[in-house]
């Protein structure tokens, strides 16, 4: 997983208000060369959370990025030294083994073979319950995995957030 993806990932667990950025626990970092494309970097620059990127790069062992987010003149200039550093940090550092940690709950998302496992457990998913007024306030649920029947949209949609 590269830092460009890490910079976009946020923790999705129920109840978490600010799940970004995920802390990186790096066990194995690999560098893979990628073609340099300044247009792409300029396009992505506006979307990147700078502090998170610097922090993440440092935890992967790369400390060349400046602390403060550079302003537009540096990006647009013909001088490519900064863009090269950004390119290296964003696209060439791969987290192969390790974990991503939610800043609020401390829940660890393991990373194996470069793939982070972002699957949430049953109790971590934001559940909204649909109330079927016809049946007298019983939440409609599928009873068994064998019931692979398409749920028809028969209920009036009043979704409540279950805490």
């Amino acid at each position: 997983m590269r830092l460009i993806t890490h910079n976009m990932l946020s923790c999705n667990i129920k109840g978490v208000t600010n799940g970004f950025p995920l802390k990186i626990e790096a066990e194995k970092v690999v560098e893979k060369e990628v073609d340099f494309n300044p247009d792409f970097l300029r396009h992505m620059f506006a979307k990147i959370e700078w502090k998170a990127l610097v922090e993440a790069a440092r935890s992967m062992g790369y400390a060349e990025l400046p602390e403060d987010s550079p302003d537009a003149t540096v990006i647009e200039s013909a001088d490519e030294t900064f863009l090269r550093k950004l390119h290296h940090a964003l696209l060439e550092l791969h987290l192969e083994e390790g974990a991503l940690v939610c800043p609020e709950t401390g829940r660890k998302f393991p990373v194996n073979k470069g793939i982070p496992n972002m699957l949430l457990h049953e109790d971590e998913v934001k559940q909204t319950v649909c109330i079927d007024l016809r049946k007298g306030n019983e939440p409609t649920r599928i009873r068994s995995p064998k019931d692979r029947v398409l749920m028809q949209d028969v209920c009036i949609d009043l979704s409540l957030q279950v805490p």
Partner: protein, 304 residues
Amino acid sequence: TVLHSCRIVPALKTLKMSTRPELLAPPEIFYDDSEARKYTSSSRIVEIQARLSERALELLALPEDDVPRFLLDIGCGSGLSGETISENGHQWIGLDISASMLNVAVEREVEGDLLLGDMGQGLGLRAGVIDGAISISAVQWLCNADKSSHEPRLRLKAFFGSLYRCLSRGARAVFQVYPESIAQRELILRQALQAGFGGGLVVDYPHSTKKRKEFLVLTCGSVPTSINDGHKGSGSEDDDDDSEDEDNGMVCVSDRNRPRKKQRTNKKGKGREWVLRKKEQSRRKGNDVPADSKYTARKRKSRF
């Protein structure tokens, strides 16, 4: 709880081949190691996926300024569609629920980043970061309840809600789906519209049962000027089965199997030459055939 795969799947696979995979098992169990390998090594599937991904990328209508974009591949599987994205010069993140499929993708050394995750749990991406999303043959899996705690409508809602959030303004999402029924297609479309998307259905080769492909094109933010934006080449027909109601963005999907009045087929008919040939054949057989004259195979009035 997740079904244990070893004993159940072999029994399920003895069912008829015409059964849809999403009716057999949840995706993370159906696509186990052997199925993942079979899927990726079948050249027919590889070719179809490549074609579908190219078409989906076309429909994304990304600006043609040679700047690589940051795309999302939902249900990326073994990276077949992702490779098409890379070939077009874009960067991408792939999401899939089956670890086996993702392992195959890692082996094939795809260029995009892979995430193991469930799209029905929400995408978990920051707001406005994705320039476009494609999904090839994956969204219909959301319509089935694979666990006792699943409710397809809520999963669809979580998926479309999080997708709407993470797309940048003006970005599109293109889903190639094989809906099981009209009801399923309407369900998906309705949930997408409720999440705030605009857009509709693009159907390629609508009259051919084999070649027919459906693409759900959703736009985030601005109203699309024309869904035919992405149309290139003369082969496919873009058939917009929708009419946008400006008040609340409702889209009607017409039933393609609506019974039509039986029209008189205006066939070209068999020409004079054919008739003469047949008469000659019949004569050779020894039948009694009237002689040929200037009236043979003459066009009659339509009432005959």
